[in-house]
Amino acid sequence: MTVLLYDHVLSPNCYKARLMARLAGVPLETVAVNAYPGREHLSEESLARNPAGTLPVLVDGDLILTETQAILVYLAQGSRWMGAAGPATAATVQGWLAFSARLTSSLGVARAHDMLRKPADIAAARSEGTLCLREIEARLVEQRLRGQGFLAGADPTIADVACFPHVALAPDGGVTLDPYPAIRLWMRAIRGLDGFIEMPGIHRRHDLTPEPQPAVTA
């Protein structure tokens, strides 16, 4: 049975699902939904699938998932992407999944305003987004002092996948990442993961692609 993802290429939440599937090695078939400018995510057919009218939506047989965090859990279940065993890590991961919703409603709103002309209180969205970035920066600095490079441990988990896209796209909404060195190192590590894929606005690391020319040998 094919796992279907109703998808929009510009949506950071849809990208989370595509990225997670690729990182966890789950084959996924995407169905493009013309959410912008076509507003197809609000069509009768889309609303029948997801009354909230949001994307992404994952369909696997009879199972329909409409919440991004739930989709990440589904794609990563049983893999190392759920984090190390034990209640503390599991709860930490859940905490960051919940936190990711704050990124959507701050940095995500600022981006939709600046890029797709969606009305918003832009000053409030940027200011809340900046507070979120400071929290992540502080967490990542503490993690580094413990010798751990990711939000919920030494290895990346769904928590990192849930937070990474809106953070990386913050400049799209007029919020700079310049003051956050730990965030930049963390993004670099995520972009270097095996199976990493891009979305528009999040570029791959060209230093990881093979050299364009063979090395000169003496």
Binding site: P37, G38, T209
Partner: protein
């Protein structure tokens, strides 16, 4: 103060499919507020400037066009838009914090494909831009680049595998650029892809991509998203270009042969006195 040369050009200000049968809404063009309205479904669309004066209106190529100072000539022609069998794809506006002229210049550039549109419009090590022709066509006063050839891993949504794509570029008015490229399913024809740029300010614009393709199979949503993906990859680059305004005079930059179209575009703007969004005094 809007330079005269800018006031008499045509600009896109809305996508026709987004306009209700009757409506009234505001938009910004060249820093001035415009009112767009249609009082009843069977009445024509009306556009008025800040002083209440009526502006020219044209409804073509899926978009609403105006010229705040009165146009010098009719809206430019895209003959392919009248060709039977083409599919027209509106992609919606993307707002970019950059000079409208930089948005056009980036659209004319081929050399960035392998680095910004990696594995789609270009791929390392195929980075060389071969020699191509550039001219300002005197009869139409348009910038044209022809015989542009480039290796592309996934040239269009309808392409299967890598092909060497032939391109031609055309700038009919300072904030509109079109490209004609190899059409994978119809080798005798060319796909038309355009960006219609609405300058809001000298460093802020809405870019309306639009396509006229021969493609009977790809769902509309996939076509729109392919083009949005490409343009959004450009957006973060455009927002970080320095200086923000497009320099029209040779200065610290050293153009290469691959930049011939850009050089011709900047000279053409300068000759027309089109300085809105341009850096007129060398830094």
């Amino acid at each position: 103060m809007i330079p005269d040369a800018a006031r008499h050009e045509w600009y896109p200000v809305a996508m026709l499919s987004e306009l209700a049968p009757s409506f009234a809404q505001d938009t910004v063009l060249l820093g001035e507020r415009l009112r767009i309205s249609r009082d009843a479904p069977d009445l024509p669309i009306r556009i008025t400037g800040p002083d209440g004066a009526r502006c020219a209106v044209a409804t073509r190529y899926g978009h609403l066009w105006t010229s705040p100072g009165g146009p010098k000539a009719g809206l430019f022609e895209i003959p392919e838009a009248a060709q039977p069998g083409r599919r027209f794809v509106d992609c919606g506006a993307v707002r970019v914090r950059c000079s409208p002229l930089r948005a056009v210049e980036n659209f004319l550039d081929v050399a960035h494909f392998p680095f910004v549109h990696t594995d789609i419009l270009g791929a390392e090590p195929h980075t060389e831009v071969e020699r191509y022709d550039v001219q300002v066509r005197e009869e139409s006063d348009e910038v044209w680049a022809t015989k542009v050839r480039f290796f592309q891993p996934m040239a269009a949504r309808s392409a299967e595998g890598g092909i060497v794509t032939d391109y031609a570029y055309r700038v009919p008015t300072p904030t509109v650029a079109l490209l004609y490229k190899t059409c994978p399913p119809r080798p005798e024809e060319r796909d038309v892809i355009a960006i219609f740029v609405q300058p809001l300010a000298e460093d802020l614009c809405d870019v309306w991509p639009w396509m006229a393709l021969f493609d009977d199979t790809t769902p509309q949503a996939d076509l729109v998203q392919f083009q949005q993906m490409i343009f959004l990859q450009d957006r973060s680059i455009l927002e970080n270009q320095i200086p923000r305004l497009l320099p029209l005079d040779p200065g610290l930059e050293t153009p290469t042969r691959a930049d011939l179209t850009s050089v011709a575009y900047r000279r053409w703007l300068k000759k027309r006195g089109y300085t809105y969004g341009a850096q007129t005094v060398p830094a």
